[in-house]
C-alpha cells in the first residue's frame, strides 16, 4: 500500500467513521451510507488539509470513489 493510499484511508475512516482496512477502490456514496452531500464536502476539505493540495470545483463535483481520489492524489495536480 502506498503512503498516499494509507493516509487517504485514514481520512476516509475519520470522515465517515468506517474501518480504514475495509475500504475498496470502488468505495462510493453507493457503498458508504454516511457519504452524503454534506460529508462529501467535508471529505474533500479533510483531504486538502491532509495532503496540502487544492481541488478544482469540477474535481470536487466529479470525484466520488476512493480509487478515483487516490489516483488523482498520486498523479499530483
Amino acid at each position: 500500500m502506498s503512503a498516499i493510499e494509507h493516509r487517504l484511508r485514514e481520512v476516509f475512516a475519520s470522515v465517515f467513521g468506517v474501518d480504514a482496512g475495509r475500504l475498496s477502490a470502488g468505495a462510493s456514496p453507493a457503498s458508504i451510507p454516511e457519504w452524503d452531500s454534506v460529508s462529501h464536502i467535508q471529505l474533500f476539505l479533510a483531504i486538502e488539509a491532509e495532503f496540502g493540495t487544492e481541488f478544482d470545483p469540477d474535481e470536487i463535483a466529479g470525484l466520488a470513489a476512493f480509487g478515483a481520489i487516490q489516483q488523482r492524489l498520486e498523479a499530483g495536480t
Binding site: 470522515v15 467513521g17 467535508q42 479533510a46
Partner: protein
C-alpha cells in the same frame, strides 16, 4: 478526581494541532461518550439562509473545550420561517436548549447587495426596513413555543464592497448602510426576552472578510465559510452560546512575577522589575491595562502570589508605572502556601463560589496545581511569551457577559471599600454598634423601567443568597410588576463608604388571603448587615396592603444556596407542619420589623394596609 466516568476522558488538543478530519473524529468520539464526558449537555438548533451543516463537528469539539457537549440540529438552508412557524416542525421536535438564527442579506436578495449602486439600492433599503423587525417576529414566534435563548446573527460585510476601496468614505455606500442595519438588528433583538445578537460581523472582521468565503464551497454547496475559518466560526459560536447559558466568572486571580510585571521582585527589587513604556516593560503595562479593562465592567481583581507581602505592597504603592492599584484589589493572598488553597480562601472572603474565579498565572506548575486541587476554578492557558498575554485574556471565554449595569461599572471600587469596612469592624464592641456606625440608608421600591435591567440581572445570576432561584426574565418581571396580585420589590443600599447599588430583590404573589414569597435574594456583599430583614419588612408591608393575613414561603434547595436554609426561621417565620422547607408568618400576630440600624427611603409613597372592616 471527582469524576465517576469509567472511560478515559476525551482531551481536546489545541486548535492549531487539529485538522478537519481530527474534528470529525473527535466529534464522533464525544457523541459516543455521551454523558461519560462529564460535559454539560446542550442541544443547539441552527437555522440559516446559507448552508451551516459543516459547523456540526467543529461546534461539538470547540464547545467541549469550554465545558459543553453539544448535539446540534441544522435546518435545511432557507427554511427557517417554515420551521419556526409550524408547531410540529423538526425544530420543535428536536426541543433545542438554544437557537441560532443566521441570515445574510445577500441570500435574501443578492442584487440588493452586489448591485447596491444600481437597482439594488432601493431593494436594499426595502430589505433593511423590514429585516430587523422580521427577525424580531421570528424570535417571538419561537418564544411562543420555547423558552430557550436565541442568538441572532448580525450582518457581515461581503468580501468585496460594491463601491470598492473607498466604500468607507462614501455615506451612500453599502458598508455605511450595513452599519445602520446592524444597529437596527441589535435594537430589534435586544427588545425580545432572552434573545441576543451573535456578532457574526465581528467574527468575519476578525478573521478577514476577503478570505472568509471560499468561492468553490459557495458555488458547490452554498457554504459561506472557507475551510480555514470553520474552526474559528465554531469557536465563536460556542463561546457565544456559553455566555448565554452560564453566568460569567466574577473574579480574575492574578499572579505577580512575570505576569503583572517582568522579572521576580524578590530577586530583582522594586527598580529591577520590567514595567514601563519601552520593551519589555511595555508588554506588562499593556497587560495591566487590559486587566483594568475587565475591572471596568465589573470583574473583581485578586492577587495570589508566592512572595513577600511587604515587598509586593511597596511595589503597588510606589512603582511609578504600576497601573493597577492596591486599593483596586478585592482580595490579596501573598504567602508560600499552595495556590489552590489560597484561591479557595479568596472565594470565601468574597462570598463567591470558587467556580466564579479564574486564574491567570505564567507558571505552568502553579496552573497544574490549581487544576488538580481546585478543579472548579477556571484556569487560563497562558502562553510562554508575555506578548501573548493580552490575547489569551481576551480569548478566554470566562468573562463574556450579556449585560452591563451601573453596579458592574462600580464594582471594583465597591469591593475596595468593603475591605475598608472589614478593617473598621474590628474596632467595635458589638455588631450593632458597628452596623450603626456605617450610617446605612436603604431605598426600597417596586420594579420600574430604570430598575428592570439590574433586577433581571440579579434574578438571573444570584446563586447563594437566594431562597428559590427562580430565573425570571426581564420581560416576565415586567409582567409580574404590572399584575395587580404581585409585587416586585427591590432595595438599594448606600453607607458612609459609598453606594452599594441595587442589592436585593423580593417578589410576592397573592393568592386570596395568603401571599407567597416567589423570589427572595440578595447580593452576598451586603451580608450580615440586616439588609435581608429590611427587604422582608418591605414584602410584609405589601402583603398587608394586598389584604393578606399570611405570608408564606419556600426554601428551594440548590447546590449553592445552603447559606439561606435557616433564613425564614431567623426572620421569625414558623415551619409549616408536615411540609418540609415551607414556612409561614401569621400577619395578624407576627411581623418582620424594619431594622433600626438602616435608615429608610421610599421610592414611592409607603403602602398602607387596608383598615380593618
Amino acid at each position: 478526581m471527582t469524576g465517576l466516568a469509567s472511560a478515559p476522558p476525551i482531551t481536546i488538543p489545541p486548535a492549531v494541532d487539529l485538522r478537519p478530519a481530527d474534528y470529525i473524529r473527535l466529534a464522533r468520539a464525544l457523541e459516543r461518550a455521551g454523558d461519560e464526558t462529564g460535559l454539560v449537555p446542550l442541544k443547539v438548533a441552527v437555522l440559516s439562509s446559507h448552508s451551516l451543516g459543516f459547523v456540526q463537528p467543529f461546534l461539538a469539539v470547540e464547545a467541549a473545550r469550554i465545558g459543553f457537549r453539544v448535539s446540534s440540529y441544522v435546518g435545511a438552508f432557507g427554511q427557517f420561517e417554515q420551521e419556526l412557524l409550524a408547531n410540529d416542525s423538526a425544530l420543535y421536535r428536536f426541543a433545542p436548549d438554544a437557537l441560532v438564527l443566521a441570515l445574510r442579506p445577500e441570500d435574501v436578495d443578492p442584487d440588493a447587495v452586489v448591485r447596491y449602486h444600481g437597482p439594488g439600492g432601493p431593494r436594499f433599503a426595502a430589505l433593511a426596513a423590514d429585516l430587523p423587525e422580521r427577525l424580531g417576529r421570528l424570535v417571538e414566534a419561537f418564544r411562543a413555543r420555547s423558552d430557550a435563548p436565541v442568538l441572532v446573527a448580525n450582518f457581515a460585510p461581503p468580501a468585496a464592497l460594491p463601491f470598492g476601496a473607498f466604500d468607507a468614505h462614501l455615506a451612500a455606500s453599502l458598508g455605511y448602510a450595513l452599519d445602520g442595519l446592524n444597529r437596527a438588528v441589535r435594537d430589534a433583538v435586544a427588545a425580545r426576552a432572552n434573545a441576543y445578537v451573535w456578532d457574526y460581523a465581528g467574527l468575519v472582521r476578525a478573521c478577514g472578510a476577503a478570505e472568509w468565503t471560499d468561492p468553490r464551497l459557495w458555488a458547490l454547496a452554498r457554504i459561506a465559510v472557507a475551510a480555514r475559518h470553520q474552526p474559528a466560526a465554531a469557536r465563536h459560536l460556542a463561546r457565544s452560546l456559553a455566555a448565554v447559558r452560564r453566568p460569567p466568572a466574577k473574579c480574575l486571580v492574578l499572579d505577580l512575577d512575570n505576569t503583572l510585571w517582568g522579572g521576580v521582585i524578590g530577586d530583582d527589587g522594586l527598580s529591577g522589575i520590567q514595567l514601563g513604556d519601552d520593551y519589555p516593560g511595555n508588554v506588562f503595562k499593556s497587560f495591566q491595562r487590559s486587566v483594568l479593562g475587565l475591572a471596568d465592567r465589573g470583574i473583581l481583581l485578586a492577587v495570589v502570589s508566592k512572595n513577600d507581602h511587604a515587598v509586593v505592597q511597596q511595589a503597588f504603592r510606589e512603582h511609578p508605572e504600576m497601573l493597577i492599584t492596591w486599593e483596586q484589589l478585592a482580595a490579596v493572598r501573598i504567602n508560600w502556601e499552595p495556590k489552590s488553597g489560597n484561591i479557595r480562601a479568596v472565594a470565601a472572603e468574597l462570598n463567591l463560589g470558587a467556580d466564579a474565579l479564574v486564574l491567570f498565572d505564567d507558571n505552568p506548575v502553579e496552573r497544574a496545581e490549581v487544576r488538580a486541587n481546585a478543579p472548579e476554578v477556571g484556569v487560563i492557558e497562558v502562553p510562554p511569551q508575555p506578548t501573548g498575554y493580552v490575547r489569551a485574556l481576551w480569548e478566554s471565554a470566562y468573562f463574556d457577559q450579556t449585560t452591563l449595569s451601573d453596579e458592574d461599572r462600580g464594582r471594583a471600587e465597591m469591593y475596595g471599600r468593603e475591605r475598608q469596612r472589614r478593617a473598621l469592624q474590628q474596632g467595635f464592641a458589638s455588631p450593632e454598634a458597628f452596623l450603626a456606625s456605617l450610617a446605612m440608608v436603604a431605598q426600597v421600591g417596586e420594579l420600574d423601567d430604570t430598575t428592570r435591567e439590574r433586577v433581571a440581572q440579579l434574578v438571573g445570576k444570584t446563586n447563594q443568597f437566594n431562597l428559590t432561584t427562580r430565573r425570571h426574565s426581564a420581560a416576565a418581571l415586567a409582567e409580574l410588576a404590572a399584575a395587580p396580585d404581585a409585587v416586585v420589590g427591590w432595595l438599594r443600599l448606600r453607607d458612609r463608604f459609598g453606594d452599594q447599588g441595587l442589592v436585593a430583590v423580593g417578589i410576592l404573589r397573592r393568592d386570596g388571603r395568603r401571599a407567597e414569597v416567589d423570589t427572595f435574594l440578595m447580593s452576598c456583599r451586603v451580608m450580615n448587615r440586616r439588609v435581608e430583614q429590611a427587604m422582608m419588612a418591605f414584602l410584609v408591608e405589601h402583603a398587608r396592603r394586598l389584604g393578606c393575613d399570611e405570608l408564606a414561603g419556600e426554601y428551594v434547595r440548590t447546590a449553592r444556596n445552603g447559606m439561606v436554609e435557616q433564613l425564614y426561621a431567623e426572620l421569625g417565620f414558623e415551619a409549616e407542619p408536615g411540609q418540609p422547607q415551607r414556612y409561614r408568618l401569621d400577619l395578624r400576630r407576627g411581623d418582620v420589623a424594619w431594622p433600626p440600624v438602616i435608615r429608610r427611603e421610599d421610592a414611592e409613597p409607603r403602602p398602607e394596609a387596608p383598615s380593618p372592616p
